[in-house]
Symmetry: C2
């Protein structure tokens, strides 16, 4: 033995950042189940459960609904590389870091990318997308982020779907920070390609990217004249594994066990009840932040329930405050991303972690952390304001 | 709740096929550990351990050594999409299903692919690769599968590395069915890009693809004139996450916990001792198969220790025999792949599962399964022959 690494004892963290979030013990337990083969009849039944449960959570009847064997970014890439053929035009609405990334990945997939830039913290404006489409010639697809993880802003999808379809384009929606926690209706809204991740509102560990394709998107795949540039993410090949069990790659068995259990927990709660829970706890958090004199990044009317970005007061070193929370209280918040790096915190209330007690914990601990740097709030004001919302008084 | 899926109780299977193989309980336990954030100082230390342990197992000092967040096929694709720029020539030696796949993925990555076809079950012949290179003009890289999972044939890598380097090309090696169980020396042999998976000889669940790049391969990446077509698999971006902790994607935390524990088990055993163990058990298995009158696919002198492909006797329905083993005894074997589909079994003795008792179990059960179909062997002859090898008598 040439290595000297110690036995494994990770600390317990309360994960209140942008993900991963903590998962229910049943999910960890499922993941530790003994392995079966990826073509085992028992595993094929697990795959069927996962597809059916994913359709429930996506609110869709799409036959092609499956988890990609990679994280959310792999889902984004799978969407782009399958829909885009080199030279296709792709219109992407950008209102934060992940819209930017979607454009970048479309470009690498060979698209001619037209970016419709929005201010950070605002929702995407369907009118501006319509204008861009009007001058763009033939457009293959429009891309938009439902829940922008970098700012906490939600965008209304239905109108953008209509705008895209009027122009004969598909609509691609990034639901990384919404699926399973924020209202989303793939079929009713007319979304053609929707992808997400497992470690946020779904409540499983990171490692898979649920994805669904409308019949119109499937037709687009079938009428491609060039091969998909990625074999690993080729959705035609992947569908044939999920439908007809044709070997494509060895599915990440344990992760799929975990996803199945996380989805079962969603079905037991009911997805609508889950959306309500996320709304209530998000409102409570923001009431508390407001009472502490802190300013939220997103416009209030488009604020996401699952993730809140909040400006750090100027005199505060935001990284030092996060480090304090981690070292003293084992609480993780995320820092700002992109233009907000070093200037904001991102607080997640996602999946299993979206609870009233967690709201109070994070507010109390944040008050302490910024108090340590001399930013004094009225003691307990944040917690008290949050409690009033949780108790239905405000 | 609209779903009615039952609680999760997967059967216990003895996984003696082409992977996944069973994992040590410590690995399952690590995977069920509570999550930390992907930028948590505690997780960064875990990442450092994984890289250092991977270098130990790959037998390399390569700084760029990391697990890709996808299965073995993602590792193959990462190798190709980073090394190849559109129009580059790639020479691939094909002696089975996975060499074929490597060529397919190179083509999708934009390569002009020259295939050097070999008979199934034979090793790749360095001389034939040299001839192909002589007539090929400027070649960017040569690709070869170290351990062909479809046939059980091993190829000597050192000579092919020399041939590639003489021609000014990089050598890409698929070590999916060898890493951690079959002798492999990335640095000593001069391998430039080597990738593998976690679910075979490494002894972790499927979901990650360990990969290492020589300094020469890193230079090739740095001198690219086009962007890597995949953002998710862009090794320059990935290295900057693994080196400098710049956010790229959310690492699959639990899978990396599992990989760390599996690699620690390898280090505790010692990788050379592990190679020896795989050789002894593989020999024992084949002595047993031989005594049962069954014929192995690969040439004896190039037979892999970790995986044995064996022809099913003509009168036997191989799928029925596998189903019998699964239903009666919870033992999984794999069927043939590609040209061997329906005609062969593949028996894995990989990682944690490469044990003497498992050899005896699989031989005894296989004797019973083919006996059920009327193929009679001398009772217990397979087990007895295997035992003699295990006890050092033969």
């Amino acid at each position: 033995m040439t290595q000297d690494t110690a036995g494994f004892m990770p600390p317990y963290r309360l994960l209140m950042g942008a993900g991963p979030s903590n998962v229910h013990p049943r999910v960890l337990q499922a993941m530790a189940s003994s392995l079966v083969g990826h073509l085992d009849p028992n595993f094929l039944a697990v795959m069927d459960d996962v597809r059916s449960l994913l359709r429930y959570v996506f609110r869709t009847e799409n036959p092609v609904t499956l988890p990609i064997s990679g994280t959310g970014t792999a889902g984004m890439e799978a969407a782009m590389v399958n829909i885009i053929e080199p030279g296709d035009t792709f219109v992407v609405a950008i209102n934060g870091y992940f819209g930017q990334r979607l454009g970048e990945i479309a470009e690498r997939s060979g698209a001619n990318v037209i970016a419709v830039e929005h201010e950070m913290g605002k929702a995407v404006d369907a009118e501006r997308v319509r204008e861009a489409l009007a001058g763009a010639g033939k457009v293959k697809a429009v891309g938009v982020v439902h829940a922008e993880t970098s700012t906490g802003a939600a965008t209304s999808i239905k109108e953008i779907a209509d705008v895209a379809h009027e122009a004969g384009a598909l609509l691609v929606v990034d639901a990384v920070t919404s699926l399973g926690g924020v209202e989303l209706h793939v079929d009713e809204w007319g979304v053609d390609v929707c992808y997400s991740c497992t470690q946020k509102c779904i409540g499983a560990p990171p490692g898979l990217a649920p994805l669904t394709l409308s019949p119109r998107a499937v037709e687009t795949l079938q009428s491609r004249t060039t091969k998909v540039r990625s074999f690993y993410l080729d959705l035609t090949e992947l569908s044939s594994y999920w439908d007809r069990r044709a070997y494509h790659h060895t599915a990440p068995i344990s992760m799929i066990y975990a996803l199945r259990e996380a989805l079962r927990l969603i079905a037991e709660e009911g997805v609508e009840a889950r959306w309500e829970r996320h709304i209530r706890n998000g409102e409570s958090l923001r009431a508390g932040l407001h009472a502490m004199g802190l300013n939220v990044v997103a416009d209030p009317e488009v604020q996401l329930p699952s993730l809140t970005a909040v400006h750090a007061p100027e005199e505060i070193d935001e990284a030092q405050a996060r480090r304090y929370l981690l070292d003293r209280h084992n609480i993780e918040l995320s820092g700002g991303l992109g233009a907000l790096a070093g200037k904001a915190w991102r607080i997640g209330l996602m999946g299993h972690n979206s609870t009233g007690p967690n709201v109070l914990t994070v507010l109390g601990a944040l008050e302490e952390a910024i108090g340590e740097q001399g930013y004094e709030t009225q003691a307990g004001a944040g917690v008290a304001a949050a409690q009033r919302v949780l108790r239905g008084i405000d």
